[in-house]
Assembly symmetry: C2
Amino acid sequence: MEKIVYMDNNATTRVDPKVVEEMMPFYSQFYGNPSSMYSFAGIAGNKLKKARAKVAALIGAQPEEIIFTSCGTESDSTAIYSALNSNPEKKHIITTRVEHSAIKNLFESLSRKGYKVTFVPVDKMGRLDLDTLYNSLDDHTAVVSVMWANNESGVTFPIEEIARVVKKRGIIFHTDAVQAIGKIPVDVNMAEVDMLSVSGHKIHAPKGVGALYVRKGTKFSPFLIGGHQENGRRGGTENVASIIGFGKAAELAAHHLAQMQTQVSFLRDKLERGLLKHIPHAKVNGDPKMRLPNTTNIGFDYVEGEAILLMLNELGICASSGSACTSGSLEPSHVLRAMGVPFTSAHGSIRFSLSRYSTEHEIDEVIEKVPPIINRLREISPFWADTENLEKGYCSAQ
Amino acid sequence: MEKIVYMDNNATTRVDPKVVEEMMPFYSQFYGNPSSMYSFAGIAGNKLKKARAKVAALIGAQPEEIIFTSCGTESDSTAIYSALNSNPEKKHIITTRVEHSAIKNLFESLSRKGYKVTFVPVDKMGRLDLDTLYNSLDDHTAVVSVMWANNESGVTFPIEEIARVVKKRGIIFHTDAVQAIGKIPVDVNMAEVDMLSVSGHKIHAPKGVGALYVRKGTKFSPFLIGGHQENGRRGGTENVASIIGFGKAAELAAHHLAQMQTQVSFLRDKLERGLLKHIPHAKVNGDPKMRLPNTTNIGFDYVEGEAILLMLNELGICASSGSACTSGSLEPSHVLRAMGVPFTSAHGSIRFSLSRYSTEHEIDEVIEKVPPIINRLREISPFWADTENLEKGYCSAQ
């Protein structure tokens, strides 16, 4: 395997070697089941407790407000079903048009089961239409779920304000903060969310572990029914090593948060400027101000995103079109469509997402290698030929 | 940490170092998201594919019949909800009185939601009352779920026969085979089950990964709704490293299966004989013939199981009373109660469960150390004093 330039950190991240180091003793050495009563198992149990405190600390929560799950998707399902079970008579639910498939597909499934779903739109910059959101709140609304930051555009939503308005109406508010934690400050003391989903593998912990924050006092019913684990709130033997890794990753994420706003943000901006400078007919998708510091989503007109990715892949550059969880589909991203990005541009949009491991050298490499790729692809694009001719004053119909 | 004697392998197992070795490259080196389109992520994707084939092979299934989950509990919930969704008009469900809490608590919860639940009893040996099971099958039965092997007593049920009878009635049959795989042959070509749950951490893979076998052609609806992972059958980024570890563990389990029937079974028998020989008023709970080769559950009359475990713990011996998933409760195990084990004995029942790592030296140590513990505890037990007096011909009331 040659060296790769990994620019797809919103899809998943490299597990920090310090995280792996923390996990290692809990495979073959301290492998007890935390539910067991002997001291040997208590070693795992105690470390689990510390991990819970660390994940809680990252979002300003209390340890007992954290329920460990297997992923962001499970956290989301747990939150939504719990909210619905708490309000069995309410059949209206609200979310946005740009959610991750964990919420989007769940709400679409609930819609088929008889729930009335409001999908709140976004504008061309990917900003949420708050008026529509607030006007759709009514006495039948069981839950509102709005993501904290969009995985594709990186655009962030004003969760603190939204939570305040939704809570004032006495409605349960959930946010999918999977892409937000570790990148921007997320604090449940500032944002009155009832429930908040996070995932380990977006912050340099392993895949297969997530958590749901449930504010003290929130009515809760478990999604995974079984043993008494997680204080009776999630059955199943705890994923001990990965939870311990998640704890360490949360600690490191808190430590590196400032670096996101400085170093990572600087590199992202450099990348964006470099690409826009060298490539005509390219533009950033999404609000350039209210945005994650690590993400840029750039639309290159008249080329196919899949073709760009294929050529980037040959050079060892990892980026994505749309979300990893929906890739493989030939449809342009539902997020970009919701933003009204034109078809010609949505198809050729590429997301670059950085991490604290990204280097300036890598950025320079991407700035150097992407423009010739776009040029080559445009040369073989019939749409581009038309554009060129139009710009030169020719009529392509001739 | 002093050396421990680990006799609680039905609670969880040591991760085989060969398993850890397979997992390691997928944390900080090949950390791509298998859903991503570039070659770097394909490395994880390909290895995942191989792991799926290995887990499938352990139970005689096809790779595409395996859905990876986060644990046995999730596998169980996935199976049962899928069966119910496939038969929305049928409101009768059947299980046994001795299931693991993943099924027991789920069925109790469904009972509160309006389902009629038949809990099939067992006899004193822990054997299932097949007549009751078969007679309770009717046209309203949506699903039958019977565990393959009991986690506490080790007693195995005739799944091949049960599956045949249930399937003949056109009813969906699920089995929780979490305790069976790796200990006895489990083959979906011999047993006509529709769905079968397994878990990694009972066969020396890490905690936090399981799988559900779904026979080709079985109607299925996902429990975790989200991305297109697992062929659209389970949303959420795959737990790549742990799944790869599960694959390796499945391969090793197949390799070591014969050893379970010989070496491990021999050690279990030696342990059982040794304890029964040196301790009066002790007896094995459960059918000594139809039983897992690694498990013995022994009732010591007139002592408290918790007290025994506490004293064993001080000697570094790990065993359990009841299931790890219900321990901490002061109630005697629901499994032993279902078997009609008398109160005096059920309270003092201890499960020893061995693995391929168990040594004869460890067995000798347990045989040496347990009898004095039971003696000491009986000396301070008022019930025991009565018994002693009764045996000597005194009347304790005097």
